[in-house]
């Protein structure tokens, strides 16, 4: 009996060891510019302590750690009831106190206050009242977003979502979404076919390409929360269609149409008028259009000079200029939400790395390095991180990185994921 117990204990130990090995992703998080924040244990009334530990405290800590502007104080923490001075001596600049209480009808109330330990005065006070169906982890996301907002002037993105394509079975791909912390997986399309290239308007409207009719068609939502319907072609065959991209105002849809001579061109469809206009000149490949934030210019990939390179143009096709010059394969440009940077991928020795081109400086910076490939970058709405796909653990999975490339975090353990997009709100 004793031997059996020992054996099963060893098995469990081995299994947890394996899990730990697989989930360990955080590489490093070092930056002197971050605010050091310490958190006392939440005071609870009517809420289960175990649930709060996993669904609130841990989620909040991870959210704040990944903001890029806050560093959680992890070591040599004073006891919860210590005076503020003790927290200051431990290194904390802000001290966060929270109180969670559940009303008789099940509704949750979260009161959060943050103290500046140097000045010993409050810097943040906020109360959240949540319906009982709101998960605890969402409350943690809201609090993290408001703390970042208090610190930087722009709300955080802990309560944002990431939409991506995932292979369901060979030849069948569908569009899914997860919360920013990798929880809450949800399937958005059920076409039972190849469904690719999602794009999200700022109001959450989805558009994508699906092969369910045999040939590719662009489908999506014409109005907020509306049904998924065919958007293009309105009649007949459309040829090769790919890469839809909503304009920032959500009134136009850039996309790529390929003809029978092998050319692919960037087109812009005016949703209200139902007319599509060709922006590129019809020789070679032009694809992957990405709007600048005010909708006046597009970045795109073209092989007009041989290999694929990133170009910029006005939204009428004029003022064409080449952005990238180093390397033989530069593609997947995505304009940053504030318009100052363009992220793209560049191929080197058979694999891709992420780069950021700073338009003000006219210079490109490499973000990722390594033996594995990193593809499909998409900006976080606050421009502090990029979500991308990488095969560093075998199959193509979703990761996020800060702009230094030093803090790379695996978003989910789902395999065979591609084309992530990052959007505020849920």
């Amino acid at each position: 009996m004793l031997r059996f117990l020992i054996r099963s204990f060893l098995c469990v130990l081995a299994a947890t060891g394996l899990c730990a090995q697989q989930t360990e992703v955080v590489l490093s998080a070092t930056s002197s510019a971050k605010l050091v924040l310490a958190m006392t244990s939440p005071k609870l009334s009517g809420v289960e302590a175990a649930a709060v530990g996993t669904e609130f405290t841990a989620v909040l800590k991870r959210d704040l750690d990944e903001t890029g502007v806050i560093a959680m104080l992890q070591e040599r923490l004073p006891a919860d009831e210590s005076p503020v001075k003790a927290w200051k001596e431990a290194g904390a600049q802000w001290l966060l106190n929270t109180r969670l209480s559940r009303a008789a009808n099940g509704d949750l109330k979260l009161e959060a206050t943050a103290l500046d330990t140097a000045a010993e005065k409050g810097v943040f006070t906020r109360t959240y009242n949540a319906n009982k169906i709101v998960p605890l982890r969402h409350l943690a996301h809201y609090l993290a977003d408001d703390l970042v907002g208090r610190l930087t002037g722009e709300k955080g993105v802990a309560s944002s979502r990431i939409v991506f394509v995932r292979q369901v079975s060979p030849g069948v791909k569908e569009i899914f979404q997860v919360d920013r912390d990798g929880a809450g997986l949800m399937q958005l399309t059920r076409h039972g076919s190849l469904t690719l290239s999602p794009t999200l308007a700022s109001d959450g409207r989805l558009a994508y390409v699906t092969y369910k009719g045999g040939a590719p068609e662009i489908w999506g939502q014409r109005r907020k929360d509306g049904p998924h319907e065919k958007i293009y072609p309105t009649s007949g065959a459309g040829g090769m269609l790919s890469s839809p991209s909503w304009s920032p105002d959500g009134k136009r849809l850039a996309f790529v149409q390929g003809d029978r001579r092998g050319n692919s061109d960037v087109m812009v469809l005016d949703l209200a008028a139902g007319r599509a206009r060709r922006l590129t000149d019809g020789t070679g490949i032009n694809t992957e259009p990405s709007w600048n934030p005010n909708g006046t210019q597009l970045a795109f990939t073209s092989d007009r000079e041989g290999g694929p390179q990133v170009f910029l143009m006005q939204d009428d096709g004029s003022n064409l200029r080449k952005l990238t010059s180093e390397g033989t394969y530069n593609a997947s440009p995505t304009w940053s939400p504030n318009g100052a940077m363009v992220a793209y991928v560049s191929r080197f020795e058979g694999k891709f790395d992420l780069f950021i081109y700073k338009l003000g400086e006219g210079k490109a910076y490499q973000i990722t390095t390594g033996v594995s490939t990193s593809e499909s970058p998409a900006w976080s709405p606050d421009e502090r991180r990029l979500v991308f796909t990488s095969n560093r653990f075998g199959s193509s999975q979703l990761f996020t990185t800060d702009l230094s490339g030093r803090q790379i975090v695996r978003l989910t353990e789902l395999a065979a994921c591609q084309s992530p997009r990052w959007l505020r709100g849920r």
Partner: protein, 243 residues
């Protein structure tokens, strides 16, 4: 064992008892027997063989089956008797109909056999078409990031052209595929370019381009997924599918 002995006589008693007591007749049975007796008498009467005496009024019968005796004289129910006759006629007619139907079925079978023979001939033709297609529609391959038709694939394309000329009603879809190196979107455009290159080459061989459709799957439908040249070169391909 002590009480087991009692089981034997008990079993004997039960068996004999159940044999001795016939189950009583049900109302249905009685009714049917009465009607049958009446029908028999009525038929005899109609045939001119009517009898003065009740054949069932034999002392023993009458005693055991009083309903048969009564049936003879007050069970006259003309409607029921006519119905029985009609039923018989209907049965006969049904039999005749069945025979006719069987005959018709034989004829239909014969026709079907002929149709089957015809469609078999067609299927054979379609089979020949399929077989010719299978032999002719060979996958072609491309170099990395290229869409030029390779020297080695010209024979395959000539075969496809010959096939299209031999079967003028045939239509094909040309699929362009890529390996995993490259972005999803760029590879969709590249696959389109590869399908278009195959289409252009077939056009130069004299096949009407209206008989082809092209589609690009980019890197979304790989044949294999290992990260090595042996697999990548298989995935950089053009496939031809009957439409």
């Amino acid at each position: 064992m002590r009480y087991g002995l009692y089981l034997v006589p008990a079993a004997i008693v039960l068996t004999l008892g159940s044999l001795a007591c016939k189950p009583p007749k049900t109302a249905e049975q009685i009714k049917a027997e009465t009607q049958a007796a009446f029908n028999e008498g009525y038929q005899a009467f109609k045939d001119g063989k009517g009898r003065e005496t009740n054949p069932y009024s034999v002392a023993k019968e009458a005693k055991e089956n009083p309903h048969k005796t009564t049936g003879w004289f007050d069970g006259w129910d003309k409607a029921k008797a006519d119905k029985a006759a009609a039923d018989q006629a209907a049965t006969e007619k049904a039999a005749a109909d069945a025979k006719a139907a069987a005959d018709a079925k034989d004829a239909a079978d014969k026709a079907a056999a002929e149709a089957a023979a015809r469609s078999a001939a067609e299927a054979e033709k379609a089979g020949a078409y399929k077989k010719a297609a299978e032999a002719a529609l060979k996958t072609i391959h491309f170099d990395y990031d290229k869409s030029d038709i390779k020297e080695a694939d010209r024979v395959s394309l000539q075969g496809i052209s010959d096939f299209m000329k031999a079967y003028p009603a045939g239509k094909l879809e040309i699929e362009g595929h890529c390996d995993e190196r490259g972005t999803n979107e760029y590879n969709l455009a590249l696959g389109n370019k590869r399908a278009a290159a195959a289409l252009a080459y077939l056009k130069t061989l004299g096949v009407d381009e209206a008989r082809f459709t092209t589609i690009s799957y980019g890197k979304e439908k790989p044949l294999c997924t290992e990260a090595k040249e042996g697999c990548w070169s298989q995935n950089r391909r053009g496939e031809f599918k009957l439409k």
